[in-house]
Symmetry: C2
Subunit: 342 residues, 2 copies
């Protein structure tokens, strides 16, 4: 067993766009679990856009990471030593273990996972929080129905890729928005979107005109992951009584993309009598059993596709995270911290 | 009987802020009702912020008024001659008779009113569309509950003044925002708001700080009539899972007031998991019986107060409307077109 561990600490708060200087790789003594605690080695770390919010001191739905503290993050880990009967050495678990090689935990908020049921990493992606986010947003928040038309921004991301597939399985017309020809090809060929619009592509038509052509009967549901240009483009296309499930606004997390004026947003909501609902998956964990019952068999059978972008080693986590914020990932962004089998 | 009638036509579409030049007073021959129609003389004309939208050609929830056509508007009228058994000479009616001294109608969308049950003008205000708007917005759209805190912008307007009183009757903490010391004094002394914040007053605290002090447990419901500064001020004060009933945005109808950036609006909805619902009263006429059953007795008993600003004569309608857009009205804005008794 190693006698040290490594972690990524928040070195400083970003002003605007974060950079490598905001992170610091540190080596620390390996902690010893206290009574009722276990020590685990991290196998997979999940990188997610919400982490950008935790880097800032501004009011958010969760406390910010303190400067000097370990960056937070969900991870799959394997128990090494345990002082609690609930977890045994060798158990695979998923929980908020942070950007680190090892973690000590009381087991609060930690679930055991079966390493044979599906690849371990799916517990962080299609069968984890991003998957639950997609399923709750589509069903509980947007109230999406068969025969309706949905637009999904960040259509090939960890959340979007499942939204599109679940919507299609429901019998909806599915229009994805993604950045890049490769992502759009994947969206239609693999994920089954009816149309994918590449907002990076040169086109004589505006993105809003492209949506209008792709959605001849208008847009009933917009699954919002980005803000920015996709939002501006879809708003005039929303049908009366349309719904917007507001899940993320990655285009704006670092203030790097333009925005429609607030009166245009507010005016569309009013004139088209839209319902806009912000949601955070932490409020909806009670829906996890229903989600897994429906989606796990589809993942196992191969009916639901997913893709992962893997960075190798904890030291690569900051660069992979910064790339994620710029749309450099393709599907779920992971960091392989250690091999699955010790 | 006069052989001519007068009307206000839309002379031109405004660019930005409308002015008197956009309206034209015209004299026309008095029309003759055809088979199944009646002719009525207008008694009271209602002026409402939504009319600003009808003056523009931009997409809205209703067709714009054509240039040269009569300005639309709800009115109380008295039937003069009738070719339909549904309406008899002498009947008082409420319907969309427009900015005119007389109107011919098939009776579609027209209701008879009892001139002895309540003052005729209340059919355009506290017991008419503004009242129904307040009641539907508070109950059906915002799902407001006893013990919660509500902020109402344009708190003494035709809609807001009833929202505040209904919310107070429900057992909510009520905070109004209005422009001017006289309106705020009326809001607390007559309408029963717990607090009224005057956004015209000089104050060392920002409006948002004033809301924070007035709402020590945060804001659960925001009844949005204005957009602009009140929206910007209330957003950071909204509680998790708060609701915004988006009824109007008068501050922005002519583009005259600043706005928070869209990412700030979107970010608050996401972080605080707000539900924002735009609504237009035309979708909710089926709730009118339940509304009247609850509110008419309260108006009759004097438990619900209301105030009217009356302009005298059709020729004053444009000036009164322009004043309404600037917040110059105090309560429901009406134009007295003719005496109630012919």
């Amino acid at each position: 067993m190693t006698q040290t561990m490594t972690r990524i600490a928040l070195a400083s708060r970003p002003e605007g766009k974060p950079g490598p200087e905001n992170f610091r790789l540190e080596t620390l003594p390996l902690p010893t679990p206290g009574p009722g605690e276990f020590l685990a080695r991290v196998v997979w770390l999940s990188l997610d856009p919400y982490m950008r919010g935790r880097m800032s001191a501004a009011k958010s739905y969760a406390k910010p990471v303190e400067v000097g503290a370990t960056m937070e993050g969900g991870a799959v880990a394997q128990v090494i030593t345990s002082n609690t009967p609930a977890f045994a050495p060798g158990d695979y678990v998923v929980g908020n273990f942070g950007w680190a090689s090892h973690a000590v935990s009381t087991g609060e908020g930690v679930q055991k996972i079966d390493p044979d049921a599906a690849p371990l990493s799916t517990a962080l992606g299609v069968l984890g929080m991003p998957g639950l986010t997609a399923w709750v947003g589509l069903n509980d928040i947007a109230g999406a129905k068969s025969g309706e038309t949905i637009v999904v921004s960040a259509a090939t991301g960890a959340v979007g890729s499942l939204v599109g597939q679940l919507a299609r399985a429901k019998g909806m017309r599915t229009i994805g928005i993604a950045g890049g020809a490769d992502k759009c090809a994947y969206a239609t060929a693999e994920l089954g979107y009816d149309v994918c619009l590449d907002h990076h592509a040169a086109d004589t038509r505006t993105l809003s005109q492209q949506i209008a052509e792709a959605a001849p009967t208008g847009v009933d549901v917009y699954f919002e992951n980005t803000g920015g240009k996709p939002l501006e483009a879809v708003l005039p296309r929303m049908n009366t009584h349309g719904r917007i499930a507001l899940c993320g606004m990655i285009a704006w997390y670092s203030g790097i993309e333009g925005a429609p004026p607030a009166p245009a947003v507010w005016g569309a909501i009013l004139r088209q009598r839209l319902r806009v609902q912000g949601f955070i998956i932490f409020d909806h964990f009670n829906r996890a059993p229903a989600f897994r019952a429906e989606v796990a068999p589809l993942v196992k059978s191969g009916a639901i596709r997913y893709r992962e972008t893997v960075a190798e080693g904890l030291a690569q986590a900051p660069a992979a995270f910064l790339s994620l914020l710029e749309g450099g990932n393709f599907g779920k962004q992971l960091v392989r911290i250690a091999p699955a089998r010790a």
